[in-house]
Point group: C2
Chain length 237, copies 2
């Protein structure tokens, strides 16, 4: 007696095997629905069932109107270090950053976040964070200009380590509050730097970093590419 494997399971297994063998690599586009329909002589429903399973099991990512791709392994931030760079370096990633803009601004909303007077000027550092040569995040950091001036901020960008350079000015972060949500990139300039279409959702992080005295050192907003980023936290009663 012949045991017949359902066709959708056949498609699924073949794709998983191709991923495991390295024939299909992260980011690769997989054969389209119509190609697979012909190849396996099945209906659209059968192909979609295989795709749905593979998407739910995180092997594939479906991008509406574009195609279906092999999922990239997400970075998993575990918050073992206050520094994004340090944690990813520990995890074995190659990291880099490119400064987009350093400027002095006046902004009431940001001043409120930094708990400084609304008219005080703020140092703003905007940069792209690269992980394994891919633009994973766009980060805007804000600091009180009385704590760090424009010239000092420029040095931070040369040395590429924010917290190490701050230590040279005797500024030591001891903790941070992070807020996570989903937010679309509506700025074309940022979208372009991140290699995303304008309007794409991102994993959005708002972060307030504190010094020893409880004083706020930095407020930062970061758009993370949603296909590459995740965070794991421990909850205790």
């Amino acid at each position: 007696m012949e045991y017949k494997v359902p066709k959708y399971l056949q498609i699924k297994t073949d794709i998983i095997n191709a991923i495991k063998s390295g024939e299909l690599k992260p980011g690769d586009k997989v054969d389209s629905e119509s190609v697979l329909k012909k190849k396996y002589n099945v209906s659209s429903i059968t192909v979609r069932k295989a795709f749905n399973d593979l998407i739910n099991e995180n092997y594939l990512i479906g991008v509406q109107g574009v195609g279906t791709f092999v999922a990239k392994e997400r970075i998993n931030r575990k918050l073992t270090s206050i520094s994004f760079s340090d944690e990813l370096l520990q995890q074995g990633y190659k990291i880099d950053m490119q400064v987009d803009k350093i400027e002095e601004i006046v902004n009431e909303n940001i001043a409120e976040k930094l708990e400084i007077p609304p008219e005080r000027s703020i140092i703003c550092v905007r940069r792209i964070r690269m992980v394994n040569n891919e633009p994973v995040a766009y980060q805007s950091s804000f600091m009180d200009s009385n704590m760090l001036n424009l010239e000092q901020a420029q040095k931070i960008c040369e040395s590429k380590s924010f917290y190490k350079t701050l230590a040279e000015y005797n500024i030591f972060p001891v903790g941070a509050t992070e807020n996570y949500s989903v937010k679309a990139v509506n700025d074309s300039h940022i979208a372009k730097l991140m290699n995303l279409r304008k309007g794409t959702d991102t994993f959005f992080v708002k972060r307030t970093t504190y010094g020893e005295s409880g004083k706020i050192i930095e407020y930062a907003e970061t758009y993370f590419n949603k296909d590459w980023y995740s965070v794991t936290v421990e909850v205790k009663i």
Copy 2:
């Protein structure tokens, strides 16, 4: 001498005032670009500049191809309690849940998450979580059938408090690991229950809950409506 307010700032101020006065309520659609162009006698660029500012400052949400809406106040989970219900009740929300499905399944991937043999049957409870009468989340909880049987699971759904009912069976969670990422709802049934279009991105949470002995009590996957949910965590060095 007359001081002239830039037109985009005029539009912005008018919309903010309408929101603050309650004339525009969370979820309301605001006037379209073409309506505002005529009303203020300005170009599309001017209206878009006002919209962009308001979206960046979280007053409005833009939904491509649909329109621009007054932002809803996001729920901000602060992880002060292991129980979602308890924390939101403390925050003053009205909460409720509707069971979608309770079943006994066999699934290798989930068994791995629960650290039980792959052939062991698993109790699966799928439900919609309502906050202030809105379907905020779709949650699938999985438990070892040796720990909780189908009948017991059904009681949990009647009592509407998961952890309180578990306590009756002497099961006490002491901690959990949560993983956050962005994931599209690709299941039409789930999308419909959440009032979302299929393919919409959500704030996706994978959670493993532990008992006193370090034994895994539950593994859960939850899709949260991205417009309504955020999480805040504390990071310490």
